[in-house]
């Protein structure tokens, strides 16, 4: 089976959902005309990234009768879409979220699990962390979504792989940083490196849509990529430019690569589970011992 993937490397208007929605719909039209089956937008593509106190103001309930979702779902009738937004749950917690839309339905919503709250990042101050990661079925096979810092932790892509994902859909609003002698920021090099690593280690398609543009002094570097299950770079969007990059994926490559390299077949998640339980148990014992010694002091 073939899938033409569209990487929507966009700039956004900070806090202006209407303007960003129009851009989504326009790019979805272009992608559809180019024969795309799936369009992948970056993190917080409907809202902009450094939201701070804007977060509650731009939150959408991920429900089909929400006016923003209604129009996106309409657009998803003949083009699957991954969009980034602020999700508000019934208990009024706010999440950085990605939604997979297909044939007018919300197929899956992922809440960002790892909220970077260090260095230039302050997400944990404004958002609640997600607490699950699940792969889900799409008309192109089983997929999994992660958002930026989520895939800086190896555990989440691993879980998606074990949950049957064949297509990793990563969304970022990654601020460029780390100047050196190369025509590439250290942060870009790192992200490209690990995307290639996931594709190779998990014999999987790994697609990454990153933002461009500026928010105050932060530059978002773009350079969206898709790697095949052999770890080959199939397409990369330019750095810093708004672009729609279309690339046909031959999904049968999964069959060929996994026949050659049965890493998934040979993986031992039961062993992983046993050893993790042992490690967690030891940590619990150590913590209890430490606390009882503290009590004696």
């Amino acid at each position: 089976m073939k899938l033409t993937l569209a990487l929507a490397q966009i700039n956004t208007k900070l806090g202006d959902v209407d303007a960003n929605l129009e851009k989504h719909l326009a790019l979805a039209r272009d992608a559809r005309q180019g024969g795309a089956g799936l369009i992948l937008f970056p993190e917080l593509s409907l809202t902009g990234y450094v939201l701070q106190d804007l977060a509650p103001a731009v939150a959408s309930l991920s429900e089909a009768d929400n006016p923003v979702f209604r129009r996106l779902l309409e657009a998803s009738r003949d083009l699957d879409m991954v969009i980034g937004f602020v999700d508000e749950d019934p208990r009024r917690r706010f999440y950085i979220a990605s939604a997979y839309l297909s044939r007018g339905e919300i197929v899956h919503v992922h809440h960002k699990v790892y909220l970077p709250t260090y260095g230039l990042f302050d997400e944990g101050r404004f958002f609640a962390p997600g607490d699950s990661v699940r792969a889900f079925d799409t008309r192109f096979g089983r997929a999994g979504m992660l958002i930026c810092e989520d895939f800086w932790h190896a555990s989440l892509p691993y879980l998606l792989w074990q949950d049957g994902a064949e297509l990793l859909l990563f969304a970022s609003a990654s601020p460029g940083r780390g100047l050196n002698a190369d025509p590439k920021l250290a942060s870009s090099a790192w992200v490209e490196h690990i995307n290639r690593a996931y594709a190779s280690l998990f014999t999987i398609f790994a697609a990454h849509a990153n933002r461009v543009g500026f928010e105050d002094g932060l530059n978002f570097w773009g350079g969206s990529t898709v790697f095949d299950p052999d770890g080959n770079l199939l397409a990369q969007a330019p750095y810093f430019e708004e672009t729609l990059t279309l690339r046909e994926l031959d999904l049968n490559q999964l069959h060929r690569t996994r026949a050659r390299l049965p890493l998934l077949r040979d993986e031992r998640p039961d062993l992983l589970q046993r050893e993790l339980e042992r490690i967690l148990q030891r940590q619990k014992v150590n913590a209890a011992r430490y606390n009882s010694e503290k009590d004696k002091e």
């Binding site: 450094v50 701070q52 106190d53 002698a181 543009g213 928010e215």
Partner: protein
Amino acid sequence: MIEIDLTLDPNFVRQILTKFIRSEITRAGFSRAVVNLSGGLDSAVSCFLAAEALGPQNVLALRLPYKTSSFDSLEHAQMVIDQTGVQARTISITDMADPLIDLEPAMSAVRKGNIMARLRMIVAYDQSEAFKGLVVGTGNKTEILLGYTTLYGDSACALNPIGDLYKTQVRQLAREIGVPEAIITKPPSADLWTGQTDEGELGFTYDEVDKLLYLLVDQRYRPEECVEAGFEEKFVRAVLERVRRNQFKRVLPPIAKLSNRTVGYDFLYLRDWGT
């Protein structure tokens, strides 16, 4: 001394900075910029970048000499104007500064220097209103960290493209974007009095201090690790103290918190809010 490499890819940096200038000026509803040209390296680089980002006709370069300013400074600023093709005006600040300076015959050179820097800020902001442009800053990372700047004077701007580049990195960028060699190679100076040089006044060279700051700030070295890396302890302590003492120049003045929601503490929006 361990090897510390501050080499950058100047063409790559130039791309980011010109996009930054264009983005931050246009989203604020403007298309033009004003740059105070001192004749030195930093303002030359900011002017070249602004001209490339916005088109030279959309940049107003100001030469604002005082009677003691060196003739070279004026000449070098003119070279930048000629080479970039930006619009330009020359306005002497002598008649603005002297009535204030003359009030106190024993006024120190530092006070006079601060008056000149702040008058240049007044002229730049006034011209920016007439020109309908934003003031583009010219402070580099070295001087921001050392606090080698006049608060509300040369540090005042609407946006600063070069504030995350050390002086020695600004020099690398300057070569790429075509800043005249005479400006790149002359000793950096605030030109507030005759014979003043940055390195003479600071007591160390940019080459040395940039490397030390890179370890302390960018690489998060502890002071004792900098000494192990080959820097003199006295130098490390003096630079750290300068950085600490000048923190006030890098933040907005603290507001005494009283209410539930206070600007700066829990009223948090980027400047690019809504754009």
